[in-house]
């Protein structure tokens, strides 16, 4: 069964977001990595790029498909996970820790409150399966 840790917020499009000090860390959920299958390439944004909430910010490519990754909140990219360049499989092996994608300096961290809770996101995943 997929994990839905409660310390994260989620998008219905399967990204997770977590406030870590001053920045928002972004990745994809355990449910998403399981549905995608083996991840083989991640196209990351440039450090310094700015996004509005809901903008396409990255692309994850698995053996099955290419999927857009959306910015969960507005802000500018302060760091990307360069380890994914050589080890994209980290997204499968550690979706919530080592497999993070990028960190945003959020324009308004309160935007996080608009995102889904773990329970709300779990219900989205269950409804997709039916």
């Amino acid at each position: 069964m997929a994990e839905f840790p409660t310390e994260f917020r989620y998008l219905a499009t399967h990204e997770w977001a977590k406030l870590d000090g001053e920045v928002v860390v972004v990745g994809i959920s355990d449910h998403a990595q399981d549905a995608l299958g083996d991840v083989v390439y991640v196209e990351l944004p440039e450090v310094g790029a700015t996004f509005a909430a809901g903008d396409e910010a990255a692309v994850v490519e698995s053996v099955k498909a290419a999927s857009d990754i959306f910015a969960p909140v507005s802000g500018s990219v302060v760091e990307v996970n360069v380890a994914l360049e050589d080890e994209p499989e980290l997204v499968n092996d550690s979706a919530y820790v080592d497999g993070w994608f990028f960190k945003l300096s959020a324009d308004n961290p309160a935007e996080l409150e608009d995102l889904l809770s773990a329970e709300g996101y779990r219900q989205v995943c269950e409804s997709e399966e039916h």
Binding site: G37, D38, V40, Y41, V59, E61, V63, A66, E85
Partner: protein, 361 residues
């Protein structure tokens, strides 16, 4: 619920992700498609391909029938039971399906694709009437492909002694009936291995024995990346009724001289005209994944599209088959609005675990 092979509950028990494949519930992977791919290149894997359609051609005029039906020439086959890969064409030269025929005499054995089963059987029967051939579908047979550098040794270790001896005597691409199983040195991976047609009642025990011997179960996902690395076409992606085998990197399976197979005249006209698209290999220079339907450019001009693309686990880069009207040393693929440089190559990309592709220019 789709149709199920006798191994469906084995797949479920192994934790397979099950997907619909041409109306069948089939395993796409058992956890990691990439690990399965490497298992075949490095050791041995077993694929349940019982969804594919096995047919027999019964009748005295089976050679005449195959001469009319197939673009490849059954008279060129020398060994008993030897496999011949061919397209069967419509009158305009379009590919109705690709198939493997095993020259087993009368009846002659063939394997066609699953997704095209109904139209194939209709076509086989239509052509058969003039040659008094009976088409018999062998739904009682399951099919396992066992592929990889150690595949044949693993099969011999669990087969009967008679089957082991027969396997040792088989040449590459040859098959034979042995203790009620049809065993052939053919495959869809570019590795050594066997394809085995066996009674449904035998298949579960054989599957279990292979896994016990150290053979890995492989899903249809890895089957696709393995066949693409091996430069082998997938019907419905790389060719269909709208293209000829000449435009599908299958010219080596077409024998026109002195032949009168269905579609031959259309191919002769195409050859006389001289210019037609070709199916080539592409490898990506930078990081990323090539996928079906991405547009392909040569010297800045749109020249075609990718028909099959994937990330190659063996080469660790994007590879593809593409149908293009022109090749050059300046080729690119458009991925999400950006041009990415690719090299045009001659498939296969990988054979027996090693890179084999060569630049086209």
């Amino acid at each position: 619920m789709g149709k199920r092979t006798p191994l469906f509950h084995r797949h479920e028990g192994l934790g397979a992700k099950i997907v619909d494949f041409g109306g069948w519930d089939m395993p796409i992977h058992y956890g990691s498609q990439i690990e399965e791919h490497h298992a075949v290149r490095g050791n041995a894997g077993v694929f349940d391909v019982s969804h594919m359609t096995v047919v027999e051609f019964h009748g005295d005029r089976v050679t005449e029938y195959l001469e009319r039906l197939l673009a490849n020439d059954i008279k060129r086959v020398k060994l008993p039971g030897q496999a011949m890969y061919s397209a069967m064409l419509n009158a305009s030269g379009g590919v109705i399906d690709d198939l493997i025929v095993y020259a087993t005499g009368n009846p002659c054995l063939a394997v066609v694709n699953c997704a095209t089963r109904d139209k194939d059987l209709a076509w086989l029967n239509e052509v058969a009437s003039a040659f008094a051939i009976q088409i018999v579908e062998r739904e009682d047979l399951a099919i396992l492909a066992v592929q990889g550098p150690n595949a044949i040794d693993h099969v011999k270790s669990v087969a009967t002694s008679c089957q082991s001896k027969d396997i040792e005597s088989l040449k590459l691409f040859q098959g034979c009936w042995s203790d009620n199983w049809f065993i052939a040195r053919t495959g869809y991976t570019g590795e050594k291995g066997l394809e085995i047609l066996l009674p449904e009642n035998d298949v579960v025990a054989f599957w279990d024995a292979l896994l016990e011997a150290g053979v890995s179960p492989i899903g249809l996902g890895a089957r696709d990346t393995l066949r693409l690395e091996a430069g082998m076409n997938l019907y419905g992606s790389d060719m269909d009724e709208s293209v000829t085998p000449l435009e599908s990197n299958m010219a080596s399976t077409v024998f026109l001289e002195g032949r009168d197979f269905i579609g031959a005249d259309a191919l002769r006209e195409l050859e006389a005209r001289g210019s037609y698209a070709e199916l080539v290999g592409l490898v990506m220079r930078g990081k990323g994944v090539l996928r079906a339907h991405y547009p392909v450019f040569s010297q800045g001009e749109a020249v075609g599209e990718i028909t099959s693309g994937a990330y190659s686990p063996t080469l660790q880069m994007g590879i593809a088959l593409a149908r293009v009207s022109q090749v050059s040393s300046d080729m690119a693929v458009e991925i999400r609005g950006r041009m990415q440089a690719v090299d045009c190559v001659t498939p296969p990309f990988v054979r027996n675990g090693k890179p084999t592709y060569k630049p086209l220019n």
